[in-house]
């Protein structure tokens, strides 16, 4: 119950920035339009590129814009608060709380993600439907699986951002790693270009890395690219990365705690 309260509070906190949300939706839509035309031009040249048709490709664009803030690809969310608290030393207070720090911040980030999904996720999707007639989920199974894949995508992203924020325990300033990891996330999630278009080994590698669980996998579920039980495999892929990365977070946190305790905060 405590974690629900933490999530609710994060949701409310983000919902106070109305102007920021509207400005963000506008920007997402502009990028959505730009990429839509770029992909339409690409699929006009090669109508079956990457196993997508033009309609799949444009749908992919708008789903990507919807997920950009929801999974916080660039960084942001509660992990930024964590990095700041590590820098100022306030994290010592968090460490002595009776509830686990990891769960606390994850709950907050899921609350944030819910807010961003309902605003900056929903609005670009609707605009995509209006302007480019993008596809709806490929049937009820795909719709349900998509809804399951969202929290998994957020969790994978959260765990990576948590690890990046944790570098502040050693570096004090996590802004360098944050920029680097944001760049990698944009590229390997499929945000810059669908991973299905990546040639050869680069494509194979990109599809196996955790970032693909953040955009490419949820989008493919929506588009119905996983027939039958393959959907379960896709969700399993996300879950495996989420658990593995959360495990890394827990280990890092334990090492860092020892360090903080030794230094006396």
């Amino acid at each position: 119950m405590l974690h629900v309260a933490v999530a609710t509070r994060a949701f409310r906190r983000y919902s106070t920035y109305t102007a920021a949300t509207l400005a963000g939706i506008f920007t997402n839509s502009v990028f959505g339009i730009i990429y839509s035309y770029a992909y339409l031009a690409l699929w006009a040249e090669n109508p079956t590129a990457g196993g997508y048709d033009a309609s799949d490709a444009v749908t992919y664009v708008w789903l990507g814009q919807a997920l950009l803030m929801t999974v916080a690809l660039w960084g942001g969310g509660t992990t930024d608060d964590l990095a700041e608290r590590i820098r100022t030393g306030d994290v010592a207070i968090d460490l002595y709380r009776p509830v686990g720090l990891l769960g606390w911040y994850l709950a907050g980030d899921l609350g944030r993600a819910t807010y961003h999904l309902l605003t900056r996720g929903l609005a670009p999707t609707l605009i995509g439907v209006l302007l480019f007639h993008i596809q709806l989920p490929d049937g009820p199974v795909a719709a349900c699986a998509f809804l399951v894949s969202l929290p998994l995508a957020v969790t994978v992203s959260f765990a990576l951002r948590f690890l990046v924020a944790s570098t502040a325990f050693w570096l004090l300033d996590a802004s360098g790693p944050r920029v680097l990891s944001g760049a990698l996330a944009m590229f390997f999630s499929g945000m810059v270009l669908p991973l299905v278009l990546f040639p050869g080994w680069l494509g194979t590698l990109a599809q196996a890395l955790p970032w693909s669980a953040m955009v490419q996998v949820p989008n493919d579920i929506w588009l119905g690219k996983y027939p039958g039980t393959e959907v379960l495999q896709a969700l399993g892929f996300q879950l495996a990365w989420a658990l593995a990365l959360l495990g890394c977070c827990a280990l890092t946190l334990r090492t860092a705690t020892r360090k903080v305790v030794l230094q006396g905060g």
């Binding site: 690409l42 920029v179 680097l180």
Partner: protein, 272 residues
């Protein structure tokens, strides 16, 4: 002449003085600085890898080949990189309003825009500029250079810097009215950059007209590059537009300065 020295030279010197101090301050954390510089390089480099990867599935996009697109990409990248370096903290003007830092600046005998643009000045975008410059250089070997093309290329880079500078400053001014709407400007700045990485022939005619006469992003690279590549305008627009980048730059800068003045007036007359 005395007029000129007080209205241009002195603020320019102030800008350099303040910016220099910020560059030195950034060196207090060399590790962080280098990582940020490399990060900015990586972001744009991966952007280009994305475009390159597209060409694994296609031979041309909107009638343009990879080298030609690389020329567009390099030109717009250098332009936005230089502009982004010059604007310092303009993107965060809303934060300055909220924290009172803007008030502090208003009590100094230096034009506000000079102070804001010099504040937090950083050379971190050097990464991006270098990367875009290399791509431009690679693509430039494809161009059949003539003296007039060299002039157009140099003018193009200067103009695109000015146009992006105007986009950053002009559209950031919305924050004088709503302090947390900083992302609005991104649609025009980074959005304009992304848009001009592609040949504009992929867009519908109406968008093209808007990008020429309303928000003159098309002059950042599209029109001058058509000249460098010796190509006909795919929309059948007149060739003289290919020499109009400086006009667009001056016009957008004038527009941005006007909006800036209105924004500052609004701030000093409402205090919010």
């Amino acid at each position: 002449m005395a007029e000129v020295s007080t209205s241009i030279v002195a603020p320019a010197r102030n800008y350099v003085d303040i910016a220099t101090l910020w560059v030195r301050a950034a060196w207090a954390y060399p590790g962080s600085f280098l990582m940020m510089a490399f990060g900015s390089l990586l972001i744009t480099a991966l952007d280009f890898v994305g475009i390159w990867a597209m060409f694994a599935s296609i031979d041309s996009l909107g009638g343009f080949g990879l080298r030609e697109i690389a020329l567009l990409y390099g030109a717009t990248g250098v332009g936005i990189g230089l502009a982004d370096t010059m604007i310092g903290s303009v993107e965060r003007i809303g934060v300055y309003v909220r924290t009172g830092r803007l008030d502090q600046m208003l009590t100094r005998p230096v034009p506000l825009m000079v102070q804001v643009c010099a504040d937090q000045f950083t050379l971190r975008r050097l990464g991006r500029i270098t990367q875009a410059g290399i791509v431009f250089g690679w693509a430039a070997t494809y161009v059949d250079w003539t003296p007039s093309r060299i002039v157009v290329a140099v003018v193009m880079v200067a103009s695109s810097t000015v146009i992006f500078f105007a986009m950053f400053t002009g559209f950031s001014c919305i924050q004088f009215w709503t302090t947390d709407a900083s992302e609005f400007a991104n649609a025009f700045t980074y959005g304009g950059n992304t848009l001009t990485q592609y040949p504009l022939s992929i867009f519908p005619r109406e968008i093209m007209v808007g990008l020429t006469f309303v928000v003159p992003i098309a002059f950042v690279n599209w029109y001058p590059c058509l000249y460098l590549l010796g190509r006909e305008d795919p929309f059948g627009l007149p060739q003289w537009l290919q020499f109009c980048s400086p006009v667009a730059a001056v016009a957008s800068l004038a527009g941005a300065l006007l909006i800036w003045r209105t924004g500052v007036r609004h701030y000093t007359s409402t205090g919010s």
